[in-house]
C-alpha cells in the first residue's frame, strides 16, 4: 500500500526540517555575511566590496587558482590510477582477487592519517628518501626533492591521490561487475588487443562513473580541510585554509571576504553536484 502524496511528503520532514534548515540557514548566513550583514562591528555597511576583493586580491586569487590546480590534478591522477587498478583487479582470478581487496584499506584511513603517511613516505627524510640513499641515487637529505614544501603543493596532491585512488577503484569495480564479459571475449576472439579492449569497451562502459568520481573528488579536494591543515604550505595556500584564516584569524572587518570565498565554493558545488548525480544515474548503452 503506497503512501499518499500528502503522507509521503510528511515522511520527508524529519530530514528536511533539521538538516535542510541547517544547510539553508548556514548558506544564507554566509551570503549575508559576504555582503557585510550580520557583522558584530558597529557601522558595518552592506556592500559588494568583499566580492570585488575576491577577484582583485592577489593572495586570495592565487589561492583559488592553486586549489583548483591541486584539486583537478589530484582528481585526474586518482581517476586514471583507480581505473587501471579496478580493471587489473577485475581480471584477476578468484583467489588472487580476494588478496587484492587490500586496495580498500585507504577507504577506512582518516584523512589526517593519510596526510601523516605522506610525510613518512615522501618527506625529505622519509622512507623513499632512505631507499634512494641506500640505492646510491642521492647522498644527502637535501638531495631528495622537496615534494612536501617545495612550493608546488605536491604533498597535498599526493595525499589526495593516495586516499582517493581506492575510492575510484571501488566505484569502478561496482560498474565492472555489470559489464557483460561476452563483449570482452568476443572482441578478443575477433582479434582486438588488450589495450583496444580497455580503450573501446571498458572505458566507455565506465565513463559515467569516472566522470562523476572526478567531479566528487575535485569538489572534495577544493574544500577539504584536514590534509592541507596538517601538511599544506602557507604559500601558496589551499582555499579552505585561506577562508578559515580570514574568517577566524584576521580582524573581523575582513570576515565578509572569507564569507564571499565560501559563497563562491557553495555556488560551484551547487552547480556540480546535480550534474554528478545525473551522470551517476545514467544507464550505459549496454544495458
Amino acid at each position: 500500500m503506497p503512501y499518499s502524496r500528502r503522507s509521503s511528503l510528511l515522511r520527508l520532514l524529519p530530514l528536511v526540517l533539521p538538516v535542510g534548515g541547517l544547510f539553508l540557514a548556514g548558506a544564507m548566513a554566509t551570503f549575508a555575511q559576504s555582503f557585510g550583514a550580520l557583522s558584530p562591528l558597529p557601522g558595518a555597511k552592506i556592500s559588494w566590496d568583499a566580492w570585488k576583493t575576491l577577484f582583485s586580491n592577489n593572495w586570495i586569487l592565487s589561492s583559488v587558482l592553486f586549489s583548483l590546480a591541486i584539486a583537478l590534478s589530484s582528481a585526474t591522477l586518482s581517476v586514471i590510477l583507480g581505473t587501471i587498478l579496478a580493471w587489473r583487479i577485475h581480471q584477476l582470478p578468484g583467489p588472487w582477487r580476494s588478496i587484492a581487496m587490500t586496495y580498500k584499506i585507504p577507504l577506512i584511513l582518516p584523512h589526517l592519517t593519510v596526510a601523516y603517511l605522506t610525510v613518512l613516505l615522501f618527506g625529505q627524510s622519509g622512507v623513499l628518501s632512505s631507499w634512494a640513499a641506500k640505492l646510491g641515487w642521492i647522498q644527502e637529505i637535501p638531495d631528495f626533492p622537496n615534494l612536501l614544501y617545495g612550493g608546488y603543493g605536491i604533498g597535498v596532491a599526493l595525499a589526495y591521490v593516495m586516499k582517493e585512488t581506492s575510492f575510484v577503484a571501488l566505484m569502478a569495480s561496482g560498474m565492472l561487475l555489470k559489464l557483460d564479459d561476452r563483449f570482452v571475449l568476443s572482441a578478443r576472439m575477433l582479434g582486438a588487443s588488450r589495450f583496444a579492449v580497455f580503450r573501446d569497451i571498458v572505458l566507455p562502459h565506465l565513463r559515467p562513473v569516472l566522470v562523476s568520481s572526478f567531479l566528487i573528488l575535485t569538489l572534495y579536494a577544493l574544500g577539504g580541510f584536514e590534509i592541507p591543515w596538517l601538511i599544506g604550505e602557507s604559500r601558496p595556500q589551499m582555499l579552505s585554509i585561506t577562508a578559515y584564516d580570514i574568517y577566524f584569524r584576521h580582524d573581523l572587518s575582513r570576515r565578509p571576504e572569507a564569507a564571499a570565498l565560501l559563497g563562491l565554493l557553495m555556488i560551484l558545488s551547487t552547480l556540480l553536484i546535480p550534474l554528478t548525480f545525473v551522470l551517476l544515474g545514467k544507464k550505459t548503452s549496454h544495458e
Partner: protein, 267 residues
C-alpha cells in the same frame, strides 16, 4: 594473462596497500632510526610506554569520540527511516530530484557550509557543545544511512507490512516489530559508514566542538605535527584499529542475532 602475471599483480597490490600500515607498525617500535636506514637501528617500547602514561586523557578522548560518533549514527537512523520509506513507497513528485537533494550533503565541500552552520550554532547556543557536534556530524554523514535504508526498503518490499496490517498491527507495531528487525542489515551497513565518517572527522569537531569537545582526532593532531614519530604512529594505528575492531564485533553479533532469531544468515 598468465598465472604468474596475476600473482604478481595481486602481490604487488597487497604490498602497495599493506606497506603503509606495516610502516606505521615498525615506526611505533623504533628506537633510534636515523636517515638513511631502511629499518630502525634500535627497537623500543617507548612509544607504547608513553601512551600508557597518557592513558587517562587518551581514553577520555576515545570515549568522547565513540560517544558522539555513536550518537550521530543513531540520530541518522532515526532521521532517515521515514524519508527512506517515503522515497521507496511514497507518491512523490520529482522523486529523483528530491533524492539528489537529500544525498547532496555527502558531496558538499565541508568547509563551504560548515562555517555558516557554525555561525547559526553560535546564535542558537549550540557552538562548543556536544549536541552541536552530534548535529553537524549527522548533517554531513546521514546520506550514507539514507542510501542504505533506501536499498533496505527496496529489498524488503511491502508484503511483510501488508501481512502485519491484515493481522491487525498498527503502524508503530509494524515498524518496531516487523520492519525494523528486517532492516537491521541495511542499518548496520549504513551506520558503519556514518560511524566511520564521524569517528575519523577532525575539522567539524574542531570547529563546532571548540575547546570543550575534544575527540580522538583532536587529541591526535598535535602529535602528528610533532617530531615524535613513534608516538604519532602508535596513535595513528589506534585511530585505524578501533573502527576495524568495532566492525568485526558488529559483524559477528549481528550474524549471531539473526541466526538466533531464525532469520537467515544476516546477509
Amino acid at each position: 594473462m598468465n598465472k604468474r602475471s596475476h600473482a604478481f599483480t595481486a602481490l604487488f597490490l597487497m604490498f602497495l596497500f599493506i606497506f603503509p600500515v606495516a610502516l606505521l607498525l615498525v615506526q611505533t617500535f623504533s628506537g633510534r632510526w636515523a636517515w638513511p636506514q631502511v629499518l630502525p637501528e634500535e627497537w623500543s617500547w617507548r612509544a607504547w610506554r608513553i601512551l600508557g602514561d597518557q592513558a587517562g586523557p587518551l581514553l577520555k578522548s576515545l570515549g568522547t569520540s565513540l560517544g558522539y560518533s555513536l550518537a550521530s549514527t543513531l540520530l541518522s537512523l532515526v532521521l532517515c527511516l521515514a524519508p527512506a520509506a517515503a522515497l521507496v513507497r511514497g507518491d512523490l513528485p520529482r522523486r529523483g530530484a528530491i533524492e539528489t537533494l537529500l544525498m547532496a550533503p555527502v558531496m558538499v565541500p565541508p568547509v563551504a557550509f560548515s562555517l555558516g552552520i557554525h555561525f547559526i550554532f553560535l546564535v542558537l547556543g549550540l557552538a562548543d557543545s556536544w549536541l552541536g557536534v552530534v548535529l553537524v556530524l549527522t548533517a554531513f554523514a546521514y546520506p550514507y544511512m539514507l542510501r542504505a535504508l533506501i536499498a533496505g526498503y527496496t529489498a524488503l518490499g511491502e508484503d511483510y507490512a501488508t501481512a502485519a496490517t491484515n493481522l491487525g498491527a498498527n503502524s508503530l507495531q509494524r515498524l518496531l516489530g516487523v520492519e525494523l528487525p528486517l532492516l537491521v542489515p541495511a542499518a548496520v551497513s549504513g551506520g558503519s559508514v556514518v560511524f566511520l565518517v564521524a569517528f575519523s572527522n577532525y575539522f567539524l569537531v574542531f570547529l563546532v566542538g571548540g575547546g570543550s569537545v575534544t575527540g580522538f582526532s583532536g587529541y591526535l593532531f598535535p602529535f602528528l605535527s610533532s617530531s615524535d614519530r613513534p608516538v604519532a604512529a602508535s596513535l595513528t594505528l589506534i585511530f585505524l584499529g578501533i573502527p576495524l575492531v568495532l566492525f568485526g564485533i558488529l559483524e559477528t553479533t549481528v550474524t549471531r542475532w539473526y541466526r538466533h532469531r531464525g532469520m537467515g544468515d544476516g546477509s
